[in-house]
């Protein structure tokens, strides 16, 4: 799920940037530092939308003449939740299940959470094929999954998902294959 939240961060700027473009440089540096990162509480920071407040710079006392700015900013974050349904792209398939990605989030669907009528097939490219050969989950295929378990670390989130439910499973064969 996506949220628009207000966060804060300290940015240190070198003296060569102290000038007319200082604010633009600060924003650029903030984007570079925070976009794409992940925190256990807020999830993945997708995009900084606005600098709400930039404090006055305070020269650090480490003798480098750099200045520290306290910045309040608005950003869009992506935070997955247990029970959430999302679309993902399959990245790896093996006999234990398959891995998929939903934007920055990595998911794993174990073979116990794949419907019983689908079997692992390693004759060609690794894939899960249904008994009637109509559905084939392989790399680059799009799947709709439901998150059933999460592991939240300080700077990473990993989820376990299932396709063993109504309206879940393959939604697009992708560029790789098909019937």
């Amino acid at each position: 799920m996506f949220f628009h939240v207000n966060l804060e961060r300290n940015i240190t700027l070198e003296p060569r940037h102290f000038g007319a473009r200082m604010k633009a440089v600060l924003e650029e540096k903030l984007r570079h530092e925070v976009e794409g990162t992940c925190s256990g509480r807020y999830g993945f920071i997708v995009m900084v939308t606005r600098l709400a407040e930039v404090s006055e710079g305070v020269v650090t006392d480490d003798g480098t003449a750099r200045a520290k700015f306290h910045i309040k900013y608005d950003c869009v974050v992506f935070r997955p939740f247990k029970g959430e349904v999302m679309d993902a792209v399959v990245t790896q398939v093996n006999k234990f299940g398959f891995f998929a990605e939903a934007g920055p989030l990595q998911l794993f669907v174990s073979n116990a959470l794949i419907t019983e009528d689908m079997q692992f097939d390693s004759s060609g490219e690794n894939c899960y094929v249904s008994d009637d050969q109509q559905i084939r989950i392989q790399r680059d295929a799009s799947v709709r999954v439901r998150i059933v378990g999460m592991r939240i670390d300080a700077n990473d989130i990993f989820c376990i998902a299932t396709i063993k439910d109504d309206y879940l499973g393959l939604i697009d064969f992708g560029s790789g294959g098909g019937i």
């Binding site: 925190s39 256990g40 509480r41 939740f81 247990k82 790896q92 093996n94 006999k95 234990f96 299940g97 891995f99 990595q106 794993f108 174990s110 073979n111 116990a112 959470l113 690794n126 059933v148 378990g149 999460m150 592991r151 939240i152 670390d153 300080a154 990993f158 376990i160 299932t162 063993k164 439910d165």
Partner: protein, 424 residues
């Protein structure tokens, strides 16, 4: 006792006694451990993580001496005591129950977090201190105040909490039955260097070897297999939960919830006792006591106090042997002879009948009475004659004679027939 109070006592026994004890154990286990940044992040999102997901990470809680002293039954004692009170001082409650203030306060904090108890903290005159000063003869000392905590059960909110708790528990149990096991267990089965490390599917990202596309142990680099499959050993405590065993557990859960659900249904029919906030309660109580002291003071004066009137109830025990009073009453109703309406039991046309009877002739009435007796005599005579004739018949002839007689009769009848239809 009101249904809400019964419900509160039942929930205290069903849920909070064990959950409080477990929380105390966990608190003891976590408290002495220095926390890292990772731990902090994890502990903040406990609700989203399944603790059982990583079997290797789960450690037995450390129990110290103080924790052992805490008996989970203390929850029942305190909740039972609170159902007999309205707003009460926490210190008074602890005194009455002969428990330590600290223990009661800790428990009440927990119950407040669980939304069962409302608490209020007010600054009051320190009467003990004032008394001590007065004894010493110091009268002109300024008033000394101290913060006092009050507590009361919040029946309305507790009802909602219990309903929600039951709903969520049943929903989760149902999902578990329907969806089966979520976390797979993987075991390291290295042939040369067997480390036997156990992983869950939450560790899948770290286990995947991008070159060979198989799972490899992050400890020894050997192959990892799914527990209980492909000859991999089944780790202890990770026994495969079959659908049947989960269904059995769900049925057991439903069976145990039945009395609680019945009580919940009863409680929902009646309005919950409402004591208001501490201030409202104190004002109402003061007004009520004033009106009471003033010898009535009219109905209008009592209006405010009556809303929050304090009716403390004594605990009553009713032991019913055999069937309950309700059942007995129902049975008695079924067994009782149906009361018939008056028009069925009593002849309402008595007067008319009497009038008709008087009008009829007395001789006719006599004939009517004599006729049946004459008929009876004739019938009896006929029956006796018939009986004697039959006895004579049976007594005079043997069965063989009878046969011969019948044959002769048949021959005579045949002869007659031929006599009638002679060939022309």
């Amino acid at each position: 006792m009101s249904e809400h109070k019964k419900l509160m006592r039942m929930t205290a026994r069903a849920f909070y006694a064990t959950s409080y004890a477990r929380e105390r154990l966990n608190a003891r286990a976590v408290a002495p451990k220095p926390t890292t940044s990772t731990d902090k992040a994890n502990s903040g999102d406990v609700a989203m993580m399944d603790v059982g997901a990583a079997p290797s990470a789960v450690k037995a809680p450390v129990v110290d001496k103080k924790t052992k002293i805490d008996d989970p039954r203390v929850v029942e004692v305190v909740v039972d005591a609170l159902t007999r009170r309205t707003w009460t001082r926490e210190d008074d409650l602890a005194n009455d129950l002969k428990l330590s203030f600290k223990q009661v306060r800790k428990l009440l904090t927990y119950l407040e977090r669980e939304k069962l108890v409302s608490r209020a903290h007010v600054r009051e005159k320190d009467k003990a201190r004032a008394q001590a000063l007065a004894e010493r003869g110091i009268t002109d000392a300024p008033d000394v105040k101290k913060t006092v905590s009050w507590c009361s059960l919040n029946y309305g909110r507790a009802l909602d909490v219990t309903r929600y708790r039951l709903h969520v528990m049943k929903k989760q149990a149902r999902q578990r039955v329907d969806k089966g096991k979520i976390h797979e267990v993987y075991v390291c089965v290295g042939p040369t260097e067997f480390c036997g490390k156990i992983y869950s599917s939450l560790d899948a990202a770290a286990l995947l070897d991008p070159v060979e596309m198989v799972f490899k142990c992050s400890n020894c680099g050997c192959e990892v297999r799914q527990a209980g499959k492909d000859g991999a050993p089944e780790p202890e405590g990770a026994a495969r939960e079959t659908k049947e065993s989960l269904q059995r557990r769900y049925d057991e859960l439903e069976r145990q919830f039945k009395p609680l659900e019945a009580q919940l249904a009863k409680a929902m029919k009646t309005p919950a006792p409402l004591y208001g906030t501490l201030t409202e309660w104190a004002v109402a109580r003061k007004r009520y006591s004033q009106n009471k002291g003033g010898g009535g003071g009219g109905g209008g004066g009592r209006r405010g106090g009556a809303a929050l009137d304090v009716h403390l109830e004594e605990t009553k025990f009713v032991v019913e042997l055999g069937s309950t009073a309700e059942e007995q009453q129902k049975q008695a109703e079924i067994d009782a002879i149906k009361v018939q309406p008056e028009w069925v039991t009593r002849n309402q046309f008595e007067k008319e009948d009497a009038a008709q009877g008087a009008a009829a002739n007395g001789e006719d009435a006599k004939d009517a009475a004599a006729k049946p007796t004459a008929d009876n005599e004739v019938q009896e005579q006929y029956l006796q004659a018939l009986l004697s004739a039959l006895q004579k018949q049976q007594g005079g002839k043997k069965p063989e004679d009878k046969k011969e007689e019948v044959a002769a009769d048949v021959a005579a009848a045949v002869d007659d027939m031929f006599d009638e239809w002679e060939d022309v």
